[in-house]
Symmetry: C2
Subunit: 341 residues, 2 copies
């Protein structure tokens, strides 16, 4: 009789960062697909688009003029979900009706004045300029008294709700620690209390020993597919040494983060020979003024494509109502991305 | 100076069922949209499609022949994510590598032999037949020794990853209680211990008093937009009396569930004058043999459309990495759906 192994048989894996599970169904990759197909995202051809709100010198939706910027350019989102100028207050009625005002700042970061570029086709120097801008913004926003968490992220591709191909990312900084980093913080704290070491770095070293899910690395970071990945080609850039946030990082370490960001997205573009869509972003220590030895900065990538440039994974039905579910294993995804050179 | 109110100012609301938060940004509805547009889902015109895997008398992907069914028809999914015939076992190595085999059964339920129908254009008798089939399957699957949870759901529309327009739903039944119902169960239990009543029914009565988020009702159920809704037109069908699962429901109560399902989906179709896509499904007591007085059955609807038949809400970036976020308030969504008669 057969023996259970997690590369062939249906199983659940535990995510110790979030305290949740993923359902893995390796045999399901054989399923035929007759559903919706995405359109191929062509690489933009023109370096300057007179209609683009983000190109240098152009006018934005809000009416303001962009400067003639050379590397990165940051501005406050003209339609931010979070704003600073709201009355503070809360509503608390019984067990069911609890609401609290939430102040914040939403910013947009243009990665390059060149409309036709994306992270994987910028130079290492240019990507390093992006990472240094993140650090600066993390510090500026984090020093605002009421800002306790700074979420830096990038939505790439129309399929990820990105409405402008001009290379850019966003920062939403706010009063509360949002749900995902909050859950991670709880688990990082518990782990730190028990082991006196940080969970992310210990996990990275456990994966380095195994070598099964590592895609690439440099001096400071590894690029890996987490054991508990949910999205088909989900990946994480995580540090080999304790680094709670961008502020703790030296210039060399910032360059290594840029290098990993560049290397991973280059592999992604080669995977299906298309400008690869994803949502990606940093999880790092809150800016609430407390010491956060339990935290290590790490960058997560959630790309939707599953089988080809046009067939994505739908996180619907069972996944929305019950539990995240994936078909190909984390080990297979890592092997494929490792070969994308 | 202004006073905080949750219909105009950016805030977070607490979801006591899941123990999570939603970020609400009412002012953001004014944002212009230049991103991806969905194609309009045309209502199917033909009652029988010779190429359809689900039409009566046709051959399925797996090679089997569908019977000449008259109302509902249930079969085991030819490419189920969960199967019964796997070796049982687990993998447990340190803090980071934990996996456990997961047995289960995946079934498909055809709602009608008529290829051109959807729930809102079936008769009440036909929708009642669907609900009665759910009850039967909940009992058949729930009585299998190793099955502890039965997830019944429907994905409707290509945008929700539904690969076949033939009216159908799915059932995934399995060993473990999946994450979402598991979290609800924890909160329902805590509430029940404190109040000796069930959380869902108490919530329903609190909303009946307020009347601000109720869309419709019948003798057994209310249809409402939960205070903590995440999706733009998210809704819930929840009971006025304690009903832990389908088995506890009388024929009249089953008919009332069908009536609410029909009424809500009719409103949805009228909202943007389109066959309205959604993922929907039942949350109810596990089939683990324990008593579950803390549970009440309720049906949740997660529809993606935001502003029109072609503009959906993207749950990406900030939402994936940090926290669910919505623009229009639950109160506005309820008012709009209440007017869709
Ligand atoms: O089972 P189907 O309809 O082929 O597939 C659809 O529903 C499943 C359950 O919600 C999801 O896991 C799939 O991603 C989705 O495409
Ligand atoms: O801010 P954008 O690019 O207009 O909008 C996009 O990203 C936001 C943050 O991830 C999401 O809330 C929106 O649903 C998405 O369309």
């Amino acid at each position: 009789s057969q023996v259970f192994n997690f590369e062939d048989h249906s199983h659940r894996r535990y995510n110790p960062f979030l305290g949740s599970y993923v359902q893995v169904s390796p045999h399901r990759s054989k399923r035929p697909w007759q559903g919706q197909q995405e359109s191929i995202i062509a690489q933009e051809q023109i370096s300057y688009d007179p209609e683009c709100f983000l190109c240098a010198g152009n006018r934005r939706v809000g009416g303001e003029l962009n400067p003639d910027y050379q590397d990165t350019f940051v501005f406050t989102n003209d339609f931010g979900a979070l704003t600073a100028d709201i009355p503070i207050g809360s509503f608390d009625e019984g067990e069911f009706f609890k609401a609290k005002s939430e102040r914040g700042v939403c910013k947009v970061i243009c990665f390059s004045p060149d409309h036709s570029r994306t992270i994987p086709n910028l130079s290492l120097e240019q990507v390093t300029a992006v990472v240094k801008t993140w650090k600066k913004e993390y510090e500026i926003l984090g020093s605002i008294d009421y800002i306790n968490y700074v979420q830096i992220f990038e939505n790439k591709g129309e399929v990820m709700g990105c409405s402008n191909p001009h290379p850019h990312g966003q920062i939403w900084a706010q009063e509360s620690i949002p749900d995902e980093p909050f859950k991670k913080q709880l688990n990082f704290k518990k782990y730190h209390e028990i082991h006196q070491t940080s969970m992310v770095v210990d996990y990275v070293h456990a994966e380095i020993i195994k070598q099964k899910r590592i895609i690439d690395e440099n001096d400071t970071f590894v690029i890996l597919v987490p054991f508990w990945a949910v999205w088909p080609f989900e990946a994480m850039i995580a540090p080999k040494v304790h680094l709670p946030n961008l502020s703790a990082m030296s210039d060399n370490q910032l360059k290594d983060l840029a290098d990993a960001y560049s290397k991973l997205t280059k592999r992604y573009d080669r995977l299906f020979d298309v400008s690869f869509p994803y949502s990606a972003g940093l999880h790092q220590a809150p800016t609430d003024g407390l010491e956060h030895t339990e935290w290590d900065i790490h960058m997560v990538f959630y790309p939707p494509l599953l089988r080809s440039a046009t067939v994505k994974k739908f996180m619907v039905g069972y996944e929305m109502l019950a539990n995240p579910q994936r078909d190909l294993t984390a080990e297979k995804a890592a092997a494929v991305l490792r070969d994308c050179v």
